[in-house]
């Protein structure tokens, strides 16, 4: 197992390098000139030319790549052309917010989606199954921003139970930054008032973000359960008098979630990008809006760094997915 993980980790580096090359080429193919964005609205062509020289944007692309790679090797992600802050610092500030949101959304999707999926599988082709199938389609087909606005209208405006937007109320002082994860920092600082407030701010965005993943998880779990129920061992286990609940939730489920776990890994990659809309509507200070801003202003350093980061998180999650696969099904571990 350890060897397996080490091998996968070793393979991440070339993957990330590949990712970097692809992204670098892609970004440089875009005609948007970062020097123009940097110079600002009222700049003259001379100012722009000067910036282009200053940042080496006039050099050949391979040279720019070499310089960039050298910097990345020393964990220097460069400086954002427009916030003038080190990209690493911006990301360290924002990533925890996105991860916190993503993680909560994913947890919601899994804890609701898996049971619903199992139920749909067990009730195959009966009304509960049809309802759950329609419900899961709703999750896919409803535009996140529409759903988000409806949640805001109901829970913030009409009922007043949950805050409309943001991470923390204006009146509540931020806890000292330790991990960057607001909920954790609140706990570390022993600030239960801030924790409760931060948790309340998290509810609506997390519910919105969980929607797409929820649908995916329900459908894949349902398919997995249907598949597993065809196996002889289910009959054998019934014949041996396994308790029904344990049979389904332990012995059948573990055989059914391989594809679901794969999907959870894939979702994690998508959730960071998918968070863009949610972060925008709820003014969540995460990495999504930062990325969009960078794309809209042509900030190459940020685009590269975010790509690298998403790639790393993604690779990590997928190693985890493979490990979980191995834990779920020992046969897979032996083949690798």
């Amino acid at each position: 197992m350890l060897r397996f993980v080490l091998r996968r980790v070793a393979l991440v580096l070339p993957s990330l390098a590949g990712l970097l090359v692809v992204t670098f080429l892609l970004i440089h193919a875009v005609p948007s000139d970062p020097a123009v964005a940097m110079a600002g609205d009222a700049a003259t062509p001379e100012q722009i030319e000067r910036l282009r020289k200053q940042y080496g944007l006039d050099r050949p692309i391979w040279e720019q790549f070499a310089v960039y790679l050298g910097k990345v090797a020393t964990l220097d992600l460069g400086e954002s052309a427009f916030t003038r802050r080190p990209v690493a610092r911006d990301i360290v500030q924002r990533l925890p917010a996105t991860l916190e949101l993503t993680f909560c959304a994913l947890a919601l999707s899994v804890f609701i989606g898996v049971p619903l999926g199992v139920m749909a599988g067990l009730k195959h082709n009966t009304w509960p199954d049809y309802l759950l199938r329609v419900f899961s389609v709703l999750g896919i087909a409803v535009a996140a921003f529409w759903f988000a606005i409806m949640l805001q209208l109901l829970f913030s405006m009409q009922l007043g139970w949950l805050p409309l937007r943001g991470e923390l109320d204006v009146s509540i002082a931020r806890p000292t930054r330790v991990t960057g994860f607001l909920l954790l920092d609140c706990l570390i600082a022993g600030r239960l008032d801030a924790f409760a407030d931060a948790a309340r701010h998290l509810v609506l965005p997390a519910v919105t973000l969980s929607l797409g993943g929820l649908a995916t998880i329900v459908r894949f779990t349902r398919a997995g359960v249907l598949d597993t129920l065809q196996h002889d061992f289910v009959f054998y286990e019934r014949a041996m008098g396994y308790r029904r609940l344990r049979l389904i939730w332990i012995y059948v489920l573990r055989n059914s979630v391989t594809a679901t776990v794969t999907q959870i890994g894939l979702l994690f990659g998508g959730l960071i990008a998918g968070g863009v809309v949610v972060e925008a509507i709820f003014d969540w200070p995460g990495i999504g809006s930062y990325t969009v801003q960078a794309i809209l202003t042509g900030d190459r350093q940020v685009m590269l760094a975010v790509t690298l980061l998403v790639g790393t998180v993604y690779a990590g999650v997928n190693i985890l997915v493979d490990v979980v696969h191995g834990l779920l099904d020992p046969r897979l571990m032996e083949r690798t």
Partner: protein, 532 residues
């Protein structure tokens, strides 16, 4: 603070339990009478020498001071850190006499040396705010002959110099130098910190770029607070990204003001609420459809006139913008001096458009080719205007394609005539209150390559008039030159000038004492009081 129309709150409230319920009650009382939650957009960083745009004004005017400042509506340039100024007859030497006793946020006194340092820093960074100064001012041209006198020696006479003086904030060199790295003028540091003397001080811990910013009152500001005994003590900038969230937050009382781009369609809804209203202010911000005069058929006068007659100006303003804009047929705001009031603009008249089209076709202009009109897709209004135009052009047989694009790509593309689209849409805001901000930089051919001059219009007579006007210092002498230039430009119809904006901003009714000025768009907070 009371909340509006919450039906059945009491019945349903019983269901909310635990921390959530407790929190809900608390947040309803949260916004106190000294904290102002601002919806103004944030600049991409906090350094006033790097960024110069509308959101920056909201930071600059509160956290920094400048020598002169625009105040009032219509805007007047008034002394601020400077008490007065003199200018030599040739327009090359300017001297500013500073107030005494001004203190920076760190308590150190503000002197002429600090002003010199600030201008030199601005010139050395050579970013957006330096645009107006780079060609006319060298770093050694700024000096401090006396502790409270600053002298500027210009390379050439440049009338808009004075108009651009308010765009430069005075920073504290002691704080800057302490945070300098490799001679970078501390541009990394100042991007997320403050080093000013303004009415409010930036709280670095309360800043996350483009997300939020906290500012606290500076009790030691040179103007004192006697003119506002109950000022806002904390400005919490919490800009909204989505138009719908912005509306809800305003109606919910958790946002005191929106930004200044409220869509006209939301006006009625806000005015119907008990808690907020929509403030209307005329600003200097023109809306233009650019034509690339180098690409056929736009090199043909009749073709350009045909397009100018095909836009439904009043329909757009009245029906789509709800009347919240004024028709402005000139290439700059009609409230500014230098406008030839007798000049007649283009009106919506498809018959005329057809006539001009026939003429253009007769002259060999390719009117039947498909045209591209690039819009800023994130901006609903530009998209709507383009679609309206497309619909009208289709009626006279012109095939227009609307292409969604983004600002950075458009400005990059506009750097060369070949890459500049057939047509594109943008606004021109007030960077400084002078015709130079509009016609000067838009139609003088020396500015070709900047997005403001992206029509690639070239008329030697206009060039001469604009250059002459730029070199004179007296408004009475300059005005006739601009009037004549504008007449010529309008006759050539290089662009389609649509309207001058009316700014719509949603405000909480508890806001009192707001003072509006088109520069800064009402973001200066030092006179504001929050009624309880």
């Amino acid at each position: 603070m009371s909340r509006h129309g919450r039906l059945g709150r009491r019945e349903l409230g019983g269901l909310a339990i635990g921390a959530f319920a407790a929190g809900a009650l608390r947040s309803a009382q949260a916004a106190d009478a000294t904290t102002f939650v601002s919806g103004f957009g944030l600049p991409i960083n906090l350094d006033p020498h790097q960024i110069f745009d509308v959101p920056m004004q909201a930071v600059m005017l509160n956290a920094y001071d400048n020598l002169y400042r625009y105040q009032g509506d219509p805007p007047k340039i008034v002394p601020w850190l400077a008490e007065s100024h003199t200018v030599s007859a040739d327009g090359l030497t300017w001297e500013f006499k500073l107030r005494s006793g001004v203190k920076f946020h760190d308590g150190s006194p503000l002197t002429a040396d600090d002003v010199v340092y600030s201008f030199r820093r601005m010139l050395a960074l050579a970013l957006a705010p330096a645009g107006a100064f780079l060609k006319i001012l060298k770093p050694e041209g700024v000096t401090a002959p006396e502790p409270l006198v600053v002298r500027f020696k210009l390379e050439t006479s440049y009338a808009p110099f004075f108009a651009a003086i308010p765009s430069i904030s005075i920073v504290n060199p002691r704080q800057i130098k302490a945070n300098e790295k490799d001679g970078d003028w501390a541009k990394s540091w100042l991007a997320s910190n403050g080093a000013g003397s303004g009415s409010y001080r930036i709280v670095p811990a309360g800043y996350r770029p483009l997300e939020y910013l906290d500012m606290e009152i500076f009790d030691g500001h040179f103007l004192g607070w006697s003119d506002n005994p109950k000022p806002v003590r904390k400005i919490a900038c919490r800009p909204t990204k989505e138009s719908s969230t912005r509306l809800l937050a305003l109606l919910d009382g958790s946002l005191d003001c929106t930004d200044t781009n409220l869509p006209a369609d939301q006006v009625a809804q806000i005015n119907a609420s008990k808690i907020a209203y929509v403030q209307k202010d005329v600003v200097m911000r023109t809306f233009i459809i650019r034509m690339n005069n180098t690409k056929p058929p736009f090199d043909n006068l009749n073709a350009r006139r045909c397009f100018a007659h095909a836009f439904n100006y009043m329909g757009f303003i009245t029906d789509i913008l709800g009347g919240y804009a004024t028709r402005d047929p000139y290439p700059m705001p009609d409230t500014l001096w230098g406008i030839p009031k007798d000049a007649k603009g283009y009106d919506y008249d498809l018959a005329k458009a057809k006539e001009y089209m026939a003429k253009a076709v007769a002259e060999g202009a390719p009117m039947k080719r498909p045209f591209e009109l690039h819009v800023q897709s994130e901006n609903e209004q530009s998209v709507q205007g383009a679609q309206l135009f497309q619909s009208d052009l289709a009626q006279i047989g012109i095939n227009l394609k609307v292409v969604g694009n983004i600002w950075s790509n458009l400005t990059t593309a506009a750097a060369k005539p070949e890459t500049t689209p057939d047509m594109w849409v943008h606004w021109v805001s007030t960077y400084f209150v002078d015709p130079e901000n509009w016609v000067g930089q838009m139609y003088d051919s020396q500015f070709h390559g900047t997005w403001k001059a992206s029509a690639y219009y070239k008329n030697p007579e206009v060039d001469a008039l604009l250059r002459k006007a730029r070199a004179l210092t007296k408004q009475e002498e300059r005005a006739p030159l601009y009037e004549e230039a504008i007449r010529k430009i309008m006759a050539d119809s290089p662009d389609i000038w649509i309207y001058n904006s009316m700014q719509l901003q949603g405000l909480n009714k508890r806001i009192k004492g707001r003072r509006f000025c088109t520069v800064g768009q009402g973001a200066e907070m030092r006179w504001v009081t929050l009624a309880s």
